[in-house]
């Protein structure tokens, strides 16, 4: 196809602050509009209803923040990536920004297929009168990691199914307070707004696999107390204040790459076919 011979790029972008309330679809629309405002030379699909060749990675649930969202876009000509980063960021809503961009191999695996796991930092606060000892949380983590299986009832496409979460939990620990200013891929360049990052409570570092399917951090946290108090729900107990996706990973041939390291090519190679 024609677009494949163009200039595919992969962008990392952020979603921080109050803009976290928009949905994955809203994010996609905002980015596509920002591309048009910037006059980015987007490649389009063929056919009756041409769509820009833009594909997004794993959906981020409404309400989550992120320093590590990715998208791939097909361009019809080479652009200066620094200009792209500045220009598109300026046209995005406050709290969203393009942090990094690279040229991609024309036949790179899609983000959906390539990404194998994602990391989150979850900040939870004690609310109500139910403040408990953080060592409860430590104990829960140990139990969770020791368990062979962690079957829970989860919602999938509107129906309740039982799913074993354990195989998907790759890492779970109590972290330092606060969200790191730097992600594994370097500093965030555009407008993260850490306006609601609390320091009281518990900070958890969580990595879950996304293959064969992904699970939500809230589903893992829901197992912290399966009793009537359900600590990660509204009300008394431990309440999730923020969830920030901090990284996505591509595990391949024994190495662990971030999506900007996999299948990318140097600018100099661009167009040399």
């Amino acid at each position: 196809m024609k677009g494949d011979r163009g200039f595919p790029v992969r962008l990392r972008f952020t979603k921080r602050g109050r803009v976290r309330f928009i949905s994955h679809r809203d994010v996609a629309r905002a980015l596509e509009r920002a591309f048009r405002v910037e006059g980015l030379p987007l490649a389009f699909t063929e056919g009756f209803a041409p769509r820009p060749k833009v594909s997004f990675g794993l959906a981020l649930p409404t309400g989550y923040e992120s320093d590590a969202e990715y998208l791939d876009a097909g361009l019809t000509e080479e652009v200066d990536l620094d200009d792209l980063i500045t220009g598109v960021s300026a046209s995005l809503p406050e709290g969203m920004g393009v942090a990094d961009a690279v040229f991609l191999e024309p036949r790179a695996a899609s983000l959906q297929r390539a990404v194998t796991s994602v990391s989150y930092v979850v900040q939870a606060v004690w609310s109500g009168d139910d403040a408990r000892d953080p060592s409860d949380v430590e104990a829960w983590i140990q139990n969770t990691l020791r368990a062979d299986a962690l079957p829970v009832v989860v919602q999938r496409k509107g129906t309740e199914v039982i799913e074993d979460l354990r195989p998907a939990i790759l890492h779970l620990s109590i972290g330092s307070t606060g969200v790191p200013d730097e992600t594994p891929e370097g500093p965030v360049r555009e407008g993260p707004i850490p306006e609601r990052h609390v320091t009281e409570g518990v900070t958890l570092q969580l990595e879950v696999s996304t293959q064969p399917k992904s699970i939500r951090p809230t589903e893992v946290l829901g197992t912290l107390d399966a009793g009537p108090e359900r600590p990660f729900r509204a009300g008394n107990g431990l309440r999730v204040a923020t969830i920030v996706r901090t990284a996505q990973w591509i595990e391949r041939d024994g190495s662990r790459l971030c999506p900007l390291e996999a299948d990318t090519r140097q600018r100099a190679e661009v167009g040399a076919r």
């Binding site: 509009r33 405002v37 041409p50």
Partner: protein, 661 residues
């Protein structure tokens, strides 16, 4: 200026579609409040998705924020879940820009575009922490104002609204700002003083400045002061070219109705369909100069990043020189590729389909026409002079051009409607599908049936609306007639039409009914899942009012009407004669291209129709009874910069639907 954001934010994790409440759209301003400026909170009493695209709201937002003496923020009716959270946490309704409490504004300005939103208005006032009844408000409370099409009969809302702004808002908003600003500068002490002064601004109606007396069962209003007008004339801006707004259309982050760039190409409509309030109250026609339309499209697209633009008006194919304009736009946009253009409210003819195919090279899925009635006799009564041949030619052209799905809008419950007229709808729909099947097996046709609600300031204002039972019976006739055919039927709930009828032609006594319904939780009445006829009937009974007196009763010649003190510029004898002509089944031509029949608008306002080109669009003869297809000299004035004028946005949802392509 105290932002409530830190307290609101945790609530948003618990509600549906939280992005409705965050603001942050491209184009949004975050105005600084200060005591010198008059602060307006522009409110649309429905959800964000329904209200944000309202063009009137966007225009006022910009005009006010451009003024050094004013600022404007926005808010919408919070959905039931957030309302519950706000009340539980003792938080007020807030603005989207700065998340400031609604009661901190000088003016709460509602857009009244649909009667069924009235209870939401009361709910919003209450959530703002302001007394719902105007008489109970004190000097510290904001002024509650309202504009929009429903204000042409302000009486049902007269107990709750301090002042109504009738007609085009562009100039009026500034004049109101000046009055309020001067009052604030004097210390803003006496509410009565500012209300009295507002009542002397042309186009402003202040209910408390009038005495209500009774003539038999009718209410009659007399001004309490010599300088308060007995008749409030609507405001009309003479030249749309002077008001190229919105310049910075807000780009919502969430999906809304009409999610695209909307450029208003003209206001007014002279086709004179007798059921159509929008057409009657927005006269005369004022077209935007074609060059300005091009600029607004071009700049709007590059500023917003939209890839979809709609040229809006009540009947967009009637824009003079529409083919040239469309051809230009299509050529200009073809460079940057993949921008789609739509013309809402298409006229029913093959010429129009030609334009539609020009602009819609791709995605030809559905096209909508509004023949409105099933037989030629009925269409003469309502003055929608579309022949069957027009419709079939349009359908044929549409299917030939690749469309597969046609939607036809009809009304039922029209004056003099007989069962054969109702059943005519089924005939038209079936024939349209047959035409389509000549082209494709997938051809389909949906007849969408609305229940007719007579509106003030139209020739049908005297007509007794059909009862719920009668409308339901007619819907039943059509369901039977279309069963097992290839045409589908959609219909509007006759109970909702009935309640709309109570509010549409109600008087001041209906205010008590609206308040009762609201107090019992009857909000979001536009939403079928929340609509409750029983609440309305109960409230009518408790107020000692007979619903049939308001809804199904035919009015007599000369009977006092609740909106007699509001003028849309139409002579009431013109309306009465047109009503009589309707009953005699006489059609009336489009006065933009044919000699004037003296409805009163142009002469009384010293205005004229302003058109962008002296050549009527081909096919523009439809409804004129004349052959103007080839154009020629017509008695019109060509728009020149700085000449004439404008009005508020048409019924948004319907316009939107009819433009789906």
């Amino acid at each position: 200026m105290n932002t409530l954001w830190p307290r609101i934010e945790p609530l948003l994790d618990r509600v549906e579609k939280p992005a409705r409440y965050i603001g942050m759209e491209r184009g949004m301003r975050r105005p600084q409040h200060d005591a010198e400026r008059v602060s307006w909170l522009l409110m649309y009493p429905d959800t964000y998705e329904v209200g944000q695209p309202n063009q009137g709201l966007q225009i006022l937002y910009e005009i006010l924020n451009e003024r050094p003496d004013a600022l404007a923020e926005r808010t919408f009716a919070p959905w039931i879940d957030l309302e519950g959270e706000l009340r539980a946490h003792d938080l007020p309704l807030f603005s989207l820009e700065n998340h400031v409490a609604a009661s901190e504004f000088d003016v709460l300005a509602f857009n009244l575009a649909a009667e069924l939103t009235y209870t939401n208005v009361l709910n919003c006032i209450d959530l703002a922490g302001v007394p719902v009844r105007a008489a109970e408000r004190g000097p510290r409370d904001p002024l509650v104002m309202a504009g929009g099409h429903c204000t042409y009969n302000p009486e049902p809302m007269a107990d709750f609204v301090d002042a109504f702004a009738i007609g085009d808002g562009e100039e009026l908003a500034g004049e109101i700002t000046e009055v309020i600003g001067a009052w604030k500068a004097r210390g803003a002490r006496h509410r009565e003083a500012v209300l009295h002064e507002l009542a002397t601004v042309p186009g402003v109606y202040v209910p408390s400045m009038y005495e209500v007396s009774h003539e038999g069962p009718f209410q009659v209003l007399t001004p309490r002061f010599a300088d308060v007008p007995a008749m409030v004339d609507k405001r009309t801006v003479a030249d749309l070219g002077d008001w190229p707004y919105p310049k910075n259309q807000l780009v919502p982050l969430v999906e809304v109705v009409h999610d695209r760039l909307n450029v208003e190409i003209f206001r007014g409509c002279t086709r004179g369909c007798r059921f159509c309030q929008a057409g009657m109250i927005t006269r005369p026609v004022r077209e935007r100069p074609a060059d300005q339309v091009r600029t607004m499209v071009e700049e709007g697209l590059s500023r917003t990043g939209y890839d979809d633009v709609s040229l809006t008006s009540l009947s967009s194919a009637d824009f003079s020189g529409v083919d040239g304009l469309v051809a230009d736009l299509v050529n200009e946009q073809s460079g940057c590729g993949n921008v789609s253009l739509s013309l809402p409210s298409l006229r029913v003819d093959a010429f129009t389909v030609g334009i539609a195919s020009e602009i819609q090279k791709v995605r030809r899925t559905g096209l909508t026409f509004a023949p409105e009635a099933g037989t030629w006799r009925m269409r003469q009564v309502i003055n929608k002079l579309i022949t069957e041949e027009d419709l079939y030619a349009a359908a044929d052209a549409a299917f030939a051009a690749g469309w597969r799905r046609l939607k036809l809008y009809f009304l039922t419950g029209l004056p003099t409607e007989m069962d054969e007229d109702t059943l005519g709808i089924a005939e038209l729909a079936k024939n349209v599908v047959e035409i389509g099947r000549g082209y494709t097996k997938k051809a389909s046709c949906t007849a969408s049936l609305g229940g007719f609600v007579p509106k003030p300031h139209t020739p049908f204002q005297w007509f007794g609306q059909n009862s719920v039972e009668e409308m339901a019976r007619k819907i039943g006739l059509l369901r039977t007639a279309l069963r097992a055919t290839r045409a589908d039927l959609r219909w509007h709930d006759p109970e909702a039409s009935f309640v709309e009828g109570i509010a549409s032609r109600g008087d001041r006594r209906v205010g008590a009914v609206i308040e009762r319904v609201w107090r019992r939780g009857g909000v979001f009445q536009e939403w079928s899942e929340h609509f409750r006829l029983d609440l309305w009937l109960e409230a009518m009974a408790e107020a000692g009012l007979d619903p049939d007196w308001y809804v199904t009763r035919h009015r007599e010649e000369g009977e006092p009407l609740p909106w007699d003190h509001v003028s849309a510029g139409l002579h009431s004898d013109f309306l009465w004669l047109d009503w009589k002509a309707a009953l005699a089944e006489h059609g009336l031509p489009d006065c933009r291209w044919t000699p004037c029949y003296d409805c009163g608008v142009c002469t009384d306002y010293a205005l004229e129709h302003v058109v962008a080109s002296a050549t009527p669009p081909a096919g523009g003869s439809q409804g004129t009874g004349q052959d103007l297809a080839r154009g020629g000299a017509v008695p019109v004035v060509i728009s020149t910069p700085g000449a004439f004028g404008r009005l508020s946005a048409p019924d948004a949802r319907r316009t939107a639907e009819s433009s789906e392509g």
